[in-house]
Symmetry: C2
Subunit: 645 residues, 2 copies
């Protein structure tokens, strides 16, 4: 049998291996450790290496992107040596980048449709007015309005603060003022433009896009003239202290003073972010002349000070899906007091401006491809359709995917386990921890990852029940019933074990079932087979952390070819930024909101059936998940024909 020479970098060691060996066998021979948390099953991707020379054949390339493959990356456990080869073991940071790419694929590629200033509702221009004299003794306001009329701008509203400074502003500018004019951001007819600022030198038109998430508030500071993003930053929503999900916030808002307090809390968060912007960019809040806001309907209601009560009561109506723009001062938002604050339009109580803006940002207004757009946070909002039609629904996933409602759950901060692999023979876990230190708990992505691994390795059955007889101490009867121990007490920062319990598994099953049932009902409602979906676009914080492969394995996402998924990052924030920059974008988001057909799942009889069917791993009908069925049947020696219930 032929043997091949394998050089291992960066060490420079060389070994000879027989043809047909796996790359991991060559590294083992050289005494170089390559981690295989999944037990060499090609599932985890942690053994990725870079190959140079043509002497290899990939048996599987799961989890590697086309670009990675082009760059010669391969899974050491799944790659057969068929010639001389140079193998580079990547440093941990490269590995991390590799494995992250699949999660953020496309995030960089999001089109930034910048429109020139003329396409914006915020206008900046200079006026030249005749100087007053005893012969031309019009008052300042009449002179100014005549100048604006001559420039084609009418009708114009002059807010009181502008009028109060008009005389001195015009004189300081020697009758050649720069004018900042805000037309109605939503383009409503019959609403006058407002002069919000007069200056002597050309002002820099800065805008702020805000995404108010239930958990995280993100902002993006944009120069509206150049389209440049000056900075993007985010912070936990201070409202979390008054309830982790929208329902508890709504309940809190109903208490005496609760609505006002929740409003103050989100403003406090925004103030923190504005202060950070000031430190990073030197931009004072008062220089921000326009604001757009996206967020779910409850968040926009709390931000505007609208009681959200009716959102959770049948027939589930918000006060306003399309509020008008209000002035920042009216909303106590510490940017320029006359800046228009434009809350993007939503569709329903549980399909808000985060989804309409997100759908626009994801390109749903312009694609002919059948597209599934999802944004999973505490609630999962789903849009199905293309440029011609759109249906949408919301499913109450609960906070499990955000690490809440699970015994050892936590948010994806320092110390959170974010990914877990389980060895298919020893059932020992390998974990990755945010920040790289000792673990403190399990965040959402770890929960999905862990549930998928438990399922694929046969630690739990399709109903989510632990197989306690596998002979590993990791499986035990704990305080809360059967559990799998991810970390022992002496491995954690708290001194307590980190486990996933049967109760947690059931929570996760319900959460993923709600989302998948949403897909099913939406698709069935319009007579579409989920398998025909041409692209699955994933937005929101959820998309930042989860791993599609694992999400498919647990039956949260539909089983489609890898290349159809794209993670778009914070589509809600991006949609708000696009609306800030372009009237066309703003109008398109309005159109999306108008065109979306909202399906109220609680009023849909088929939802409960779909939900119940999805409570299994990955689903009652396993054939809906062919790739998962293959892995599972292989690893568990099961007969697929007997699996569907």
């Amino acid at each position: 049998m032929a043997s091949h020479r394998v050089t291992l970098l960066p060490d420079g060691k060389t070994v000879e291996v027989p043809t047909g060996s796996l790359v991991v066998e060559a590294t083992r021979l050289a005494g170089i450790e390559v981690a295989q948390p999944c037990g060499g099953q090609g599932r985890c991707g942690r053994c990725s290496v870079q190959l140079d020379g043509g002497g290899f054949r990939r048996r599987s390339a799961l989890r590697l992107s086309g670009a990675d493959l082009d760059a010669g990356y391969a899974l050491a456990c799944q790659t057969v040596i068929e010639g001389d080869l140079q193998v580079t073991i990547p440093p941990p940071e490269t590995l991390s980048r590799l494995l992250v790419t699949d999660r953020v694929a496309g995030a960089e590629a999001l089109p930034f449709r910048y429109e020139p200033a003329a396409m914006q509702s915020l206008r900046v221009f200079q006026l030249t007015l005749p100087e007053p004299s005893l012969q031309d003794n019009r008052d300042d306001l009449a002179r100014f309005l005549a100048g604006l009329t001559d420039a084609g701008h009418l009708p114009i509203e002059i807010p009181l603060p502008v009028l109060r400074r008009l005389g001195s502003d015009l004189r300081q500018a020697e009758w050649r003022p720069w004018v900042v004019l805000q037309e109605d951001p939503a383009g409503r007819r019959g609403f006058p433009a407002q002069v919000i600022e007069l200056t002597t030198t050309p002002p820099r038109p800065l805008g702020l896009a805000i995404d108010i998430g239930t958990t995280t508030v993100s902002v993006q500071l944009v120069d509206l003239h150049t389209g440049e993003t000056l900075t993007t930053t985010g912070e936990y929503n201070d409202q979390i202290a008054r309830g982790e999900d929208v329902i508890s916030r709504i309940v809190y808002a109903g208490k005496d003073g609760g609505l006002a307090e929740l409003g103050q809390l989100v403003r406090r968060t925004l103030q923190t972010l504005l202060e950070r912007i000031r430190r990073r960019t030197g931009v004072e809040s008062s220089q921000i002349l326009k604001v757009t806001v996206a967020g779910n309907t409850t968040m926009t209601h709390l931000f505007l000070g609208l009681p959200p009560e009716s959102i959770r009561l049948t027939p589930y109506l918000p006060t306003a899906n399309r509020p008008a723009a209000y002035r920042a001062a009216e909303l106590d938002l510490p940017v320029h007091p006359l800046a228009s604050v434009d809350v993007l339009p939503g569709v329903a109580s549980y399909v808000g401006a985060d989804i309409t803006g997100g759908a626009y940002s994801a390109g749903l207004a312009e694609t002919g491809d059948l597209t599934l757009f999802i944004d999973v946070g505490t609630n999962g909002e789903i849009v199905l359709g293309n440029q011609d039609w759109l249906v949408t629904c919301a499913c109450s996933a609960g906070p499990a995917f955000e690490g809440a409602g699970v015994v050892d759950g936590m948010r994806a901060t320092e110390g959170a386990i974010e990914e877990v692999w389980i060895h298919s023979e020893t059932f020992e876990p390998t974990i990755r921890v945010v920040g790289g230190g000792r673990p403190r708990g399990l965040c959402g992505s770890a929960l999905i990852s862990l549930l998928a691994e438990l399922f694929v390795t046969g630690v739990v059955d399709r109903g989510g029940n632990f197989k306690l007889d596998l002979g590993t101490p990791r499986l035990r009867q704990g305080e809360h019933g059967p559990e799998y121990v991810v970390a022992w007490p002496d491995e954690t920062t708290t001194g307590r074990a980190i486990s996933l319990t049967k109760v947690d598994v059931d929570n996760l099953l319900r959460a993923k079932a709600a989302i998948y049932a949403g897909f099913s009902v939406l698709a069935a409602g319009v007579g579409v087979d989920l398998a025909d979906v041409q692209q699955v676009l994933i937005g929101g914080a959820f998309g930042k952390y989860i791993n599609v492969e694992k999400a498919v394995q647990v039956g949260l996402l539909p089983d489609l070819p890898w290349e159809r998924f794209r993670f778009l990052g914070n589509t809600s924030l991006h949609g708000a930024a696009l609306a800030l920059l372009s009237r066309r974008a703003r109008q398109a988001i309005d159109d999306i909101a108008s065109r979306m057909t909202y399906v109220e799942l609680s009023a849909d009889n088929s939802f409960y059936d779909a939900f119940t069917a999805a409570l299994f791993l990955p689903h009652t009908e396993i054939r809906r998940f062919p790739s998962v069925a293959d892995i599972w049947a292989r690893d568990n020696g099961a007969d697929l024909d007997r699996l569907d219930r």
Copy 2:
């Protein structure tokens, strides 16, 4: 010679007098004192009595109105007995009413042009909305706006406070809300109507008209549905403490914090008035849903918080003659926070909304008669014209007519001498004091009255110089030069004499000359002879106190037949009330403001000449004042031909 029997009531005494006797001779015979402060010259009217029986002939009826004559009133010093007669000596309060009528004639008769609710910019109506269901699951705002659209109202602005209560208001009203809708009060195109209130029962639409005078702030509470005035009240403008005239207010506003302080002061005055309204009518301020404001340009600027600085600097431009309506909350005005506060349009820095509103209230928009409308306060504003054309100017009279800038001057409050008569032989004065007690000083009307009497009795010459050789102790060299003593120290509340000095006389001459020069220049500018003026309409506080006869004698008002003068009271407040009640009135006031040609006197070369010519009593050309010339020539034995300079 025949004699006649004269019965004197209420005493019941009877005397016999020869035919041809004066009524005063009969009363003297009966031992009944009838005051003749003017020395029996028929000038003062204080000797008015009521006659019953036909046996008398009036030699003069000066100062008695047609109604009074019909009721049998006559001047005792000017009425000849020619038959048996019953003479009733009126009690002091009747006399006071008689002599006041000439000053307030017409005030009651001002037409109150009430328009039905449909003609108003504030609309009140009920909407019936479909109840929401799972099938009709539009959000509250969409449902409400659709209802308004169906009712023909669009575009509509929903202010944030209304949106914040929309959900609960609609539910409380069981989807049949009463809506208070405010259209742009000035009728500007392209400005949406605003919903300012939603109620479950029909709200009472109450409006407040405000006149902000430099000295006095007046308000009128009106039911906009019925047109009924609930109450009218006034109070000194608290700004007086920071300057008595507009110029000193403008100067004060330029100091650090001055503008804000003056704004607070006038709001404090308004708060006092609103509190009084509440006590009188039970109407809470928050029930007031609409406000109109009139006032001179400086007062409206201070009210709106606009710096008035440029008003007093050439070319004398205000910030805004026609500010938009703003919300009460923006102006810190404690009525309904969303009530529109509509400041009526002015024409120029010194011709404000008090004049446009006043001119409308005086009927200038609808009269074919050549009309002179004047409003004299600290400044004198003058309008000349009719329904086809209007010219206007303002003359800086200074505060003399308001009792300021004169040694013993004061405002027309308790203790102020308000009228003076001088005996033509003894030169002793008779005075009337506000409140009836001992005097403290001279108010504006007393100054005009006193100057006229001093002139007519020859105590001062036509140049305003005292004739110190008349042999009366009343004329003396005082601390401030030559003076006439109106009250000795033991007659006053202060223990100090009350005098009119030469300096005071010069001040008064300048003030009246400025006004009369204004008339002259305006009339000359349009080629009109003042003698052709068909009506002189007098508005403002000035008209409440002065005596036309005396004002003509000093040359302040043109010498026209008595019946051409009408005192209209507070035309500014009345104009504001009319604008509150009717869109047509509001539009007409706008039209008046547009049509008025403003003449800037300081830019008019003929003004100085006219002013200089008017510095004499009554004028350099005494023939302009034929009635005065007659009296003066008779009493002073002068040759009219030699009088004109």
